[in-house]
Structure formats: structure tokens, C-alpha cells
């Protein structure tokens, strides 16, 4: 049992990592008053960027490619949602659709119809000596790919930036009232572009994590709703970096549950486990969404700038 439990906890943290990364970026974006529905497309672009980068420059090139393409996708969305101030939900959906189409078209053009069993060297876990020996949670938390440790570092960093710096205060002010923020000398449009740049890079990194430290290859549509789940995680985490980290762990658990239940040999249809993360998202949102307060200017296309 303890072997299964260890594997389960490791899988939890592993699957939570890309979700936490994407959601951490989305917290910053939403605190600036923008709901980034294109996050799904950004994660997908990140995954494709990782494939392109990794085939030329190894793991480092892969992560660089992931962040670069994530950034590009986020900037396309920013042009529409921030600069033109059009409806964020429609433009975000369109950018996601664009990402699905472009990554699919170029993938098939570059690598053929099937991708010809393209594999990338995955980045193995890095064991942190003393900490990984802590019973039960030790190896789950400290025997992970490098990008998971980056995530650990980013969580308090984003919290500190958001709540302890002047720029972070400005960001939160924009999310509540862009007009008031502007009157106080803040430039909302510039800040929103910057927030989306950050969110795009983290979303891209999330996609890169899927390819480089989990699956080892790219597949069309491999983001499989993770961008949307990350948006739900932001709601569950109450728009707070630490809350988001915890909420991401909850979803990691839901995804990892399939490994545990399969190991226990329960005779349930496997599709039930595959659908579980989405059902958990719905149930969790139903429990939380009505009782939390979103940034006041969130998703309001007409908010004055």
C-alpha cells in the first residue's frame, strides 16, 4: 500500500505542476481585470513550442520555445482584449481555436500525418537529498522534475510581488477599478499587457512541462482542457497565489486518482477516471463560485481605460 501511496502522491504533484503554473499566471492576469479564455490555446502553443525547441536545443531549448510561443499567443489575445477592448470571452475563444488550428496544421506539415512516433528526451526527476527522505510526502514533493521546483519558488514570489510591491498594488487596483487607477497615475493598458505577457510565458511553460517532463511527445490538442481547468483553479484559489497552489493540488489529486484506483484493481470503466478532473472542476466551482468575490472589473470589455 505504501508503494501505491507514494506513487499516488508523486503523480499528484507531477500533474498539479502544469496546472499550478498556468493558474499562477492567470491569477496575475485576472487581478488586472482580464479573463484569459485563450489560456487553453496558450498552453497548447507552449506544448508545440517545446516540441520545436527541444528537437533543436534539448530541454533548455524546449522550455525557451514553450515560453516564447506562449508569449506570442498571449500577445495576440492582448491586442484584441486589451488594445481593442473587444469582448474577452469571444476573442479568447477565437485565439484558442486559432492555436488548435495552427499547431495542428504546422505539426502535420512538419512531422507528417501521424507524427511518426516522435519522442523527446524527457527530463527525469531531480532528487533533493535530505528532504526527499522525509516519510510519506518527502519523495512526492522533492523527487520531481526541475520545473516543479521552479513552481515552488514562483508561488511565494508572485505572492510577494502582488502584495508587497508598489507594482503589485497597482495591478490589483486596475483589477478593481481601471478608471480610479488611471486617475492615480497608473497606466492600465501597459500593466495589462505586462500581466498577459507574464501569464503567456507561464501558460507556455505549463505546456512545455507536459511535453518535456511528462509525456515526451506532442499530440494535437494535448492541452486537453488544462487551460480552462487553470481558470477554474483561479476561482477556487480565490484569486490568491497561495490559494491557487492549494487548488492546483486538489486537481492533481483528481487526475492522479486514476493511477491509484487502477493500482487497487477496482473494476470501474477507465473513462470514469478520465472524466473525473472535469467533474471535480464542475463540483468545486458549484461549491465555491457563489461565495467568492472576483476582481470588480474582471471580463468587463467596456471598462474605461
Amino acid at each position: 500500500m505504501s508503494v501505491e501511496l507514494t506513487a499516488f502522491l508523486e503523480a499528484t504533484v507531477r500533474t498539479a505542476t502544469p496546472l499550478a503554473l498556468a493558474a499562477l499566471g492567470e491569477v496575475v492576469v485576472e487581478r488586472a481585470g482580464i479573463i484569459n479564455i485563450s489560456l487553453e490555446g496558450i498552453v497548447l502553443c507552449g506544448a508545440f513550442g517545446a516540441l520545436l525547441g527541444a528537437t533543436h536545443g534539448g530541454a533548455v531549448g524546449g522550455f525557451a520555445g514553450a515560453m516564447a510561443l506562449g508569449l506570442v499567443a498571449a500577445m495576440v489575445f492582448a491586442v484584441f482584449a486589451v488594445w481593442m477592448r473587444v469582448d474577452q470571452i469571444i476573442s479568447g475563444t477565437a485565439v484558442t481555436l486559432l492555436a488548435i488550428g495552427l499547431t495542428g496544421t504546422f505539426y502535420r506539415t512538419l512531422y507528417g500525418e501521424t507524427g511518426a512516433a516522435l519522442t523527446i528526451q524527457t527530463m527525469g526527476p531531480v532528487r533533493i537529498p535530505a528532504l526527499a527522505d522525509v516519510p510519506v510526502v518527502g519523495s512526492a514533493l522533492f523527487n520531481q522534475p526541475l520545473v516543479t521546483y521552479v513552481t515552488y519558488a514562483l508561488i511565494p514570489a508572485v505572492w510577494w510581488w502582488m502584495y508587497r510591491t508598489h507594482a503589485g498594488l497597482a495591478l490589483r487596483a486596475i483589477g478593481e477599478s481601471p478608471a480610479a487607477a488611471e486617475a492615480a497615475g497608473i497606466r492600465p493598458m501597459r500593466m495589462r499587457f505586462a500581466a498577459l505577457a507574464f501569464g503567456g510565458m507561464l501558460g507556455g511553460l505549463a505546456g512545455g512541462t507536459l511535453v518535456i517532463s511528462q509525456v515526451g511527445t506532442f499530440a494535437e490538442g494535448m492541452s486537453a482542457g488544462r487551460g480552462f481547468i487553470a481558470i477554474a483553479i483561479v476561482v477556487l484559489g480565490r484569486w490568491h497565489p497561495l490559494g491557487v497552489a492549494l487548488a492546483a493540488l486538489v486537481f492533481g489529486t483528481a487526475s492522479a486518482l486514476q493511477f491509484l484506483l487502477q493500482a487497487l484493481g477496482l473494476a470501474l470503466p477507465y473513462q470514469l477516471f478520465l472524466a473525473l478532473p472535469y467533474v471535480v472542476t464542475l463540483a468545486a466551482l458549484a461549491g465555491v463560485a457563489g461565495r467568492v468575490r472576483a476582481p470588480a472589473s474582471l471580463a468587463k470589455a467596456d471598462s474605461t481605460l
Binding site: 470571452i89 481555436l97 488548435i100 488550428g101 496544421t105 472524466a275 472535469y278 467533474v279 472542476t281 458549484a286
Partner: protein, 340 residues
């Protein structure tokens, strides 16, 4: 919401066709051959027009109608895809259950089962929005993923064909199949259902009190509530139900008219294309007759491009996204010109 005059959509279509040609050239394909295949596969012959364009326009019109009704009421139903899939599953299940029933019972039962299932699927998102304040964009997309796994389970479990080899249901009985329109093409009577649905919804939205309430809630929920004494929650919920019913009906019509069985990937993304269909029609149900046919042409042509010129058919998603983005950009510049 999006309101644009007709010159703009026409311009958008021309621009996007040019952009597509560029993308095809960029990915190293023969542009002439690809565009030739696009033409031949969609409108090049009566057979292509009926079996290709109009056959694909049928689900696109119905799902486009589903999206338009929802968006008109301020409901961002991105879940037409899931509602379509669930409708297809329910239609197939009903048809298989009524294997010995006469056509007068089996066919309507299969189609209605699809509409009801789509409605129920949308109602989940409706209840989550109205009672629990869950953003329907997220919930409908989550339900899309759940529906895919649900069908995957059904075609490998309770509904699988008797030999248990293929992940699909057996063929539905002839009594539950939609009759063909003429003998030249594969076009079926479901196309007429789509035509009638678009015209009927257009008339209802324009001329009835219920249609007015729906539009009023979409335009401004607060004004509808205070000035019009409209029960916003009830109208919103109805929009979910009706929208889901049309998407679900599209699914059961696809099973009864085209595939005659349920399998995975039964929808090549009709529910997502539907968003582009509805937006290009400016959410006008009558205009969906046109935009649905246009996207039917595109889908049929893209399939031919893949077959004859090796261009990945997923290129259609790029075209759809480009059309949506171009439309909102034009809308934006128009507004900028109007305001001082």
C-alpha cells in the same frame, strides 16, 4: 454584442480565403491544386454540393442556431459540441432500443431523444450559472470533455456492437433512419428540419413576447429585470434549455441521417465551428442559413483538400478563428470611428 453590416462579413470572407491560400503556400502545398480541391469538393458538382456542402451545413445550421439563441440571451454556451455528442448518443440509444417499432414512432423518438439529451446536458450548465454563479464558459467546456469520455464508455460498454470488436454501436434500424432527399446525393430530410428551425426561430425571436424577453435579457439583464419586470433567471435558464435542444437535435439527426451508428469523434468539431457560424451571421437565425452553408462548403472543401492535396483539414480551425477575429476587429474600428 457583435453587430455589423453585410459588407463587412463579405470582406472578411474574401480576406480569409486569401489568408488561407497564403497558409497553404507557407506549409509547402500546391495552392492551385488545394484551392481546386476546395472548389470541387464543395460546389464543383451537384453531388459535392449535396453530399458535401449541404450534408455538413445541416449540423452546422442547427448548432449555429443553438449558439445564436444562447448568445442573444447573454449566455456564452461554448458547449454545443458536448450537447451535440450527447444528443447523438441519446438518438442512437433510442433508435436501438426501439428496434422493432414502426417508422412513425422510431424516427421521431430518436430525434426527440437527442434534443432532450442536449437540453439536459445544457441544463447542468444552466443550473450551475443561475443557482451557483458558475461561469458557463468554463462549465460548458468541462461538460464537452465529460461527454467525449461518456461516448467512449458507451461505445465500448453497454452500446457496443455485438461482436465487441469495434468501438461503435451496431447500425440503427432502417425505421429510425431519415429518408434521403432524392437519389443523386446523400442529403437527407434532416436538412429540411434545419431550414425550418432557422426560419421558425427567426420568426419567434422577432415577433413573439418570449423572443422579446430573450433579447431584452441579453441586451441588459438589469434593465430587463427592473424596467421590463422580466424574470431574468427563468429566461436565462430557458435559453440554456432551447440552445441545448437544438445542438442535441443536430447530434441525433447526424446519427439518423448520416452515420447510422454512434462512434467516437462523431463530431469533427461542429459545436466549435458553430460559434463562427453564429457570429458571422450576426446572431441572426435567418442569416445562419447562409453562413451555415458557407461553413458547410468550407468543411466539405477542406476534406477534399486533405484527400486530394494533402492539406491538413485542421486548417479550417484557423479559417474560423481568423473570421471571428476579423469580425470583432472590424466591429472595433467601426465603433472607434463613431465615437468622438
Amino acid at each position: 454584442m457583435i453587430r455589423i453590416r453585410w459588407a463587412a462579413p463579405a470582406l472578411v470572407v474574401v480576406l480569409v480565403v486569401g489568408g488561407t491560400a497564403l497558409l497553404i503556400a507557407m506549409t509547402g502545398h500546391d495552392v492551385g491544386r488545394a484551392l481546386g480541391a476546395l472548389f470541387n469538393g464543395s460546389v464543383g458538382s451537384w453531388y459535392a454540393f449535396g453530399s458535401g456542402t449541404l450534408l455538413r451545413a445541416t449540423p452546422l445550421m442547427l448548432t449555429g442556431l443553438a449558439v445564436a439563441i444562447a448568445f442573444r440571451a447573454g449566455v456564452f454556451n461554448i458547449g454545443a459540441e458536448g450537447q451535440f455528442v450527447v444528443g447523438a448518443a441519446a438518438g442512437a440509444a433510442a433508435a436501438l432500443a426501439l428496434s422493432s417499432a414502426p417508422r412513425a414512432i422510431a424516427l421521431p423518438a430518436a430525434l426527440i431523444a437527442g434534443a432532450v439529451a442536449g437540453s439536459v446536458w445544457a441544463a447542468i450548465a444552466g443550473v450551475l450559472r443561475v443557482r451557483f454563479h458558475v461561469l458557463e464558459v468554463i462549465s460548458t467546456i468541462m461538460l464537452n470533455f465529460v461527454s467525449i469520455h461518456l461516448v467512449s464508455y458507451l461505445v465500448r460498454g453497454p452500446l457496443q456492437e455485438p461482436t465487441h470488436v469495434f468501438p461503435q454501436t451496431p447500425s440503427i434500424p432502417v425505421a429510425a433512419q431519415l429518408p434521403r432527399l432524392g437519389s443523386v446525393t446523400r442529403l437527407h430530410a434532416g436538412f429540411l428540419v434545419a431550414l425550418i428551425a432557422c426560419v421558425a426561430v427567426w420568426w419567434i425571436l422577432r415577433n413573439t413576447a418570449a423572443g422579446f424577453r430573450l433579447r431584452a435579457v441579453g441586451a441588459s439583464p438589469t434593465a430587463a429585470q427592473s424596467a421590463g419586470r422580466i424574470d431574468v433567471a427563468r429566461v436565462t435558464m430557458r435559453a440554456f434549455l432551447i440552445s441545448g435542444a437544438f445542438a442535441g437535435l443536430a447530434g441525433s439527426i447526424e446519427v439518423s441521417g448520416v452515420t447510422y451508428a454512434l462512434y467516437e469523434n462523431i463530431s469533427p468539431g461542429y459545436g466549435y465551428t458553430a460559434i463562427a457560424v453564429a457570429l458571422l451571421a450576426r446572431l441572426d437565425p435567418a442569416a445562419i442559413l447562409l453562413t451555415g452553408t458557407l461553413f458547410g462548403m468550407l468543411e466539405a472543401g477542406a476534406a477534399a483538400m486533405q484527400r486530394d492535396a494533402g492539406v491538413p483539414s485542421v486548417v479550417v480551425s484557423v479559417v474560423e478563428a481568423a473570421i471571428i477575429l476579423a469580425l470583432i476587429a472590424i466591429h472595433h474600428t467601426r465603433q472607434m470611428r463613431r465615437s468622438p
